[in-house]
């Protein structure tokens, strides 16, 4: 016999409290029917004897103390999965919203997932060629990695994500075995639309699973969106053997939704009002990337987050950086200078890079070149800060060389067109050309064997050919000067 519980005892934000409920289990789903016939969904988040606290996904608007009938569903939050979810659009809580009806489930899975056994993981080593010089050379993306883009409002992170999706050669031979899972959390309608159009234009729309929780959708649903998306991704990867790229945007909105929910539950806040368990919560999402033994598929994550006030020490980017395997940081001043993608090279990093590059993966000189580029560009910053005090004219000759190198580096290496797809060889060779504008003795991170091979003597004769797309911006730069 199924029992309906009439009325609620207390309403607080998106939470309702019911009393006298028997046989409720933790995290169980409930259906709430309002008197006017509308249906809401919720989940039990706390139990105390016969008193239960339910989180209502669609919000508690127009719920009163006695206009509801609540029914326990006797199962935790599950998602219906089948290979047919490819090309479908779902709401933030995993219900189809594209009008093609329910998914006929091959399998139902708890959206919280279960932790991957560290013993069963395969250490990721295969690099993904994104065709973007800065990323491929300096912060190589590896299959099974989680590499977030740290951005700010108004910067070109969406374009960068789209470009990665379009250019990434995710799978080497079995070209058809890849998929994209896209989770939008609290993003603007236009942004979701932009992604959709871009997927369409690059002809991958039929391989995309979309989960949309837009800026005006309920926040509780937002806390479920990435979980639904990752459940779908895990299914596609580990049971359908696909290489799945998960794009989650915007993680900051997700964290803020969590904060809102936490404060309405009356929990003790941590830093900036975010709940103390934000780290564990984010980890339970990001850690769902990877590869496991016995399956050909992989889950690679590119979460996008906007840093409030461009502050990288804000809890969300900070905790994210502690969990993810590196980060791609975008920089507003580079963007302002007209460079695309505005990747700020120094704080960006890929932790898995060192084992996925070099002989047999990219090229044997890759690591040394990357180290030297980082070191040289770090030196550029020193020279610049010195120049800002004493003026460029007064700099020592070697510092002037660095300033010149910095300009070229940003203009030709960082700067790259939205449609420009550079091979890894092109990117690496360009890196060596740039380094050759510095005196050979300055290159202390590279051993002589490599220098003999790659260092171009007569630096003045090096011609930097602009690649298509880069040319235009470069010319504009010159024009302004």
């Amino acid at each position: 016999m199924v029992l309906d519980y009439v009325g609620v005892q207390e309403i607080n934000g998106s939470l309702i409290v019911l009393d006298g409920v028997k046989n409720a289990s933790n995290e169980e789903m409930v259906d709430i029917r309002l008197e006017n016939g509308t249906m809401r969904h919720g989940r039990i988040v706390q139990i105390e004897g016969e008193k239960i606290v339910v989180q209502v996904f669609e919000g508690t608007k127009s719920i009163s103390l006695d206009n509801t009938r609540t029914r326990l569903k006797c199962r935790p939050m599950e998602m219906a999965l089948s290979p047919e979810i490819m090309g479908r659009v779902f709401s933030g809580s995993g219900r189809p919203i594209d009008g093609f009806g329910e998914v006929y489930p091959v399998k139902k899975a708890n959206i919280n997932g279960t932790p991957m056994n560290p013993v069963s993981r395969i250490y990721p080593r295969n690099y993904i060629n994104t065709g973007i010089s800065t990323i491929d050379t300096l912060m190589t993306l590896i299959r099974g990695q989680k590499l977030p883009i740290f951005s700010g409002s108004g910067m070109k992170h969406n374009e960068l994500a789209v470009q990665i999706v379009r250019q990434a050669r995710i799978s080497d031979s079995e070209d058809n075995k890849f998929g994209i899972v896209f989770a939008a959390m609290g993003v603007k309608n236009d942004v979701a639309d932009y992604f959709r159009r871009s997927f369409d234009e690059s002809g991958v729309l039929s391989r995309v699973v979309m989960f949309l929780n837009l800026a005006n959708d309920p926040i509780i649903e937002r806390t479920l969106t990435p979980r639904c998306a990752l459940t779908a991704a895990e299914y596609l990867a580990f049971e359908c053997d696909m290489h799945v790229l998960v794009i989650m945007t915007d993680m900051t909105s997700y964290a803020e939704a969590l904060r809102e929910f936490s404060s309405s539950k009356g929990e003790i806040p941590g830093r900036k009002g975010f709940p103390g368990y934000l780290y564990s919560d984010l980890a339970s999402l990001y850690e769902r990337a990877g590869m496991i033994k016995g399956s050909k598929g992989s889950v690679t994550q590119i979460p996008i987050l906007t840093m409030p006030n461009d502050d990288i020490t804000h809890p969300v980017p900070d905790l994210t950086g502690y969990i993810t395997e590196g980060q791609i940081v975008l920089d507003r001043s580079l963007e302002g200078a007209g460079f695309y993608p505005p990747v700020s090279v120094l704080p960006s990093l890929s932790r898995l890079m060192k084992d996925g590059i070099g002989e047999g993966y990219t090229r044997s000189d890759h690591q040394a070149l990357a180290n030297q580029l980082f070191a040289a560009y770090a030196r550029v910053q020193d020279a610049r800060s010195l120049a800002s005090v004493i003026g460029e004219e007064e700099l020592a000759p070697v510092d002037k060389k660095y300033i010149a190198f910095g300009k070229l580096f940003e203009q030709y290496f960082v700067n790259q067109g939205f449609t420009e797809n550079r091979t890894i060889e092109e990117s690496l060779d360009l890196g060596w050309k740039l380094l050759s504008t510095l005196p050979r003795t300055e290159l202390d991170r590279v051993d002589d064997v490599l220098l003999d091979k790659f260092y171009i003597e007569n630096a003045d004769e090096i011609v930097f050919e602009s690649f298509s797309g880069a040319e235009k911006t470069g010319d504009e730069e010159d024009g302004e000067e």
């Binding site: 409720a24 933790n26 004897g49 013993v119 993981r121 941590g270 990001y286 020490t313």
Partner: protein, 588 residues
């Protein structure tokens, strides 16, 4: 007849039981039909609070709670080394066999293989008098580690029976002991010990032997003693984990306990991969033969994360009691502190700084104070060295975990973001870091490396400090206006930074550098500095010296001179002398 204890409330990983008097504080319990592991963390006459080490989804009020009558403990015996456990000592390999690639709830597996036979060699005979902590048998655990079976603390008596040498399983009785009251106790190959209680020792010893790590910046500038404590704080991307890996690989402890506490899963699989491939230069065996891994990744239950560092520590102490030098790497203690905060929040305790519970400092001090070099109960000498990574929020070292850790550790290896950005690894900042072990360790250094070593070290430190003061000026007016003598300091300091402090973990020679070479490298740098200073004093401009390319040679000597050929340093010094002499000759 006691009434069955059942769940009353559930809030995340915290479960409460109403009106019961069955449980005691810190008792280990099983919760629900799935028998999820939990621990009692609060008791009042009305409510008993339990933290559950697994996902609580699906638990119901009315589900049973079973007590075990004992505090949270770990099983100690052969098979610990070369194993990988979760935070509450469940073998992850066994879980994999049972539930596949994802960890299912309530996976109850034994920590150690109960079916495996060990080749046991008895060390006692009937009539022997045994006291607590004494060795009654041994067996080879891995190719390089001999497992020594110890009489559990608190037990002593006379041996009444001993089995033959031979093959035995974990729970086989091999020795029977009669205590003074006439009670008989069976000694098997294993024993249990509560994780939150330090194992007893005979006497603490002074920490005057260094833990040699082969990392120049640590061994030379900020050494740690065997039995010491160190903190490695650093924001994300500064190389905490990398530094911990390097230490785990190369430090001269007998056994490494590596605790991945709330860190990345891929990192743990990397450790597994790398350590099984890597050959320990001392023993010629894979690193895994001396390593225990505890992996409670960030997505595994938070309460088990809180327990994981105690589990690791208890395993480390167990091997210390056998007479081994054990180093424990805890990566990262901040995640452990956050687990404390999370659970404290669920208990609705009054928060102190940044939401952390007020007992954070006392918990941290309890943890770090379990380190030390000691005479064990069996009379052997062993040590537990604790190296804890700290992940300060927002890279801000003034946050509570870093600050409190600083109070209870004696080495502070501060990782610096700007060094990491410039890919200067290990990114240990030489201005902010310190070691309090200097004076304790000086006699050892003097004895093994000569008093020049100490002299070199203080010169190197002085030069680095001088450079940092000069850089303040350079930042304002540029380096061109400095007198040549100060320019030389800057060049030498650069050679120290690039040639000495910076170390390449991926280079076969540079990843581990013996002390003798570290000393010679310092000698070479200081030699050039002194000679160049004399040349400058003769009014020869520094630019002439720079043209000789000698400083570049210093920067590359770590690669050019293999660890096995220290005699090449003499040649390098000769070369520098000749080159500099050519300058003065021209001048004359």
């Amino acid at each position: 007849m006691t009434e069955k204890d059942v769940i009353f409330g559930i809030n995340g990983p915290v479960v409460t039981v109403k009106n019961t008097r069955t449980f005691s504080m810190m008792e280990m319990v099983y919760v629900g039909e799935a028998r999820l592991v939990g621990e009692v963390i609060g008791i009042s006459s009305r409510l008993t609070t339990i933290q559950v080490y697994e996902e609580t989804t699906g638990l119901k009020p009315g589900d049973p709670v079973y007590g075990t009558g004992a505090p949270m403990n770990v099983l100690l015996g052969p098979g610990i080394i070369d194993n990988i456990f979760d935070g509450i000592e469940r073998s992850l390999k066994a879980i994999e066999e049972m539930s596949g690639s994802f960890i299912a709830r309530g996976s109850s597996v034994s920590a150690l293989d109960e079916t495996r036979y060990w080749n046991v060699h008895m060390k006692v005979k009937v009539g022997d008098r045994l006291s607590e902590g004494m060795i009654y048998a041994v067996c080879p655990e891995t190719a390089i580690i001999e497992h020594r079976f110890l009489v559990p603390p608190g037990l002593s008596g006379t041996v009444v029976s001993v089995e033959q040498n031979g093959k035995y399983k974990l729970h086989d009785t091999i020795v029977t002991l009669r205590d003074d009251k006439g009670e008989e106790h069976a000694l098997t190959l294993c024993q249990k010990w509560p994780i939150r209680q330090a194992r007893p020792i005979q006497k603490r010893l002074k920490g005057d032997i260094p833990l040699i790590t082969g990392q120049r910046v640590i061994d030379t500038l900020f050494p740690i003693s065997k039995g010491g404590t160190a903190a490695i704080p650093g924001g994300f991307g500064t190389g905490k984990t990398m530094t911990q890996h390097q230490l785990a690989k190369w430090c001269d402890a007998d056994i490494i306990v590596y605790v991945g506490c709330g860190e990345r899963g891929n990192e743990m699989s990397q450790v597994l991969d790398e350590f099984s491939e890597l050959i320990d230069p001392k023993s010629g065996r894979p690193m895994t033969d001396r390593t225990v891994l505890i992996a409670n990744t960030s997505n595994m239950p938070v309460a088990a994360r809180e327990a994981s560092i105690y589990t690791g520590l208890t395993l480390a102490e167990y091997y210390r009691d056998m007479g081994y030098h054990v180093a424990i790497m805890a990566d990262s203690t901040s995640r452990w502190a956050e687990a404390l905060r999370e659970i404290s929040g669920r208990l609705e305790e009054m928060p102190a700084e940044e939401g952390f519970p007020a007992y954070l400092p006392s918990r941290l001090s309890e943890f770090y104070e379990r380190a030390g070099r000691a005479d064990t109960l069996s009379g052997a000498e062993g040590s537990v060295t604790i190296i804890g990574a700290v992940s300060p929020q927002g890279s801000d070292f003034s946050e509570p975990v870093t600050q409190n850790t600083k109070r209870f550790t004696r080495c502070f290896w501060a990782l610096d973001k700007s060094l990491a950005y410039a890919r200067h690894y290990p990114a240990i900042n030489w201005m902010d870091s310190y070691s309090e072990y200097f004076t304790d360790l000086d006699p050892w250094y003097r004895e093994h490396l000569g008093s020049e070593f100490l002299l070199f070290r203080s010169r190197i430190t002085a030069l680095l400090h001088e450079e940092s003061a000069l850089m303040e000026i350079v930042k304002l007016i540029g380096s061109d206006v400095l007198p040549d003598e100060q320019k030389l300091v800057i060049e030498t300091a650069k050679a120290i930074r690039v040639g000495f402090l910076q170390q390449n973990a991926f280079h076969p020679d540079d990843t581990f550098v013996p002390m003798e070479k570290q000393k010679l490298m310092m000698k070479a740098i200081l030699h050039l500095h002194n000679k160049a200073k004399r040349v400058i004093a003769r009014a020869i401009p520094i630019s002439r010296i720079m043209e000789l390319g000698l400083f570049e040679k210093l920067a590359k000597m770590k690669y050019d001179i293999p660890n096995s050929q220290p005699e090449l340093f003499d040649r390098l010094i000769e070369e520098m002398d000749t080159a500099l002499a050519s300058l003065t000759v021209q001048e004359d």
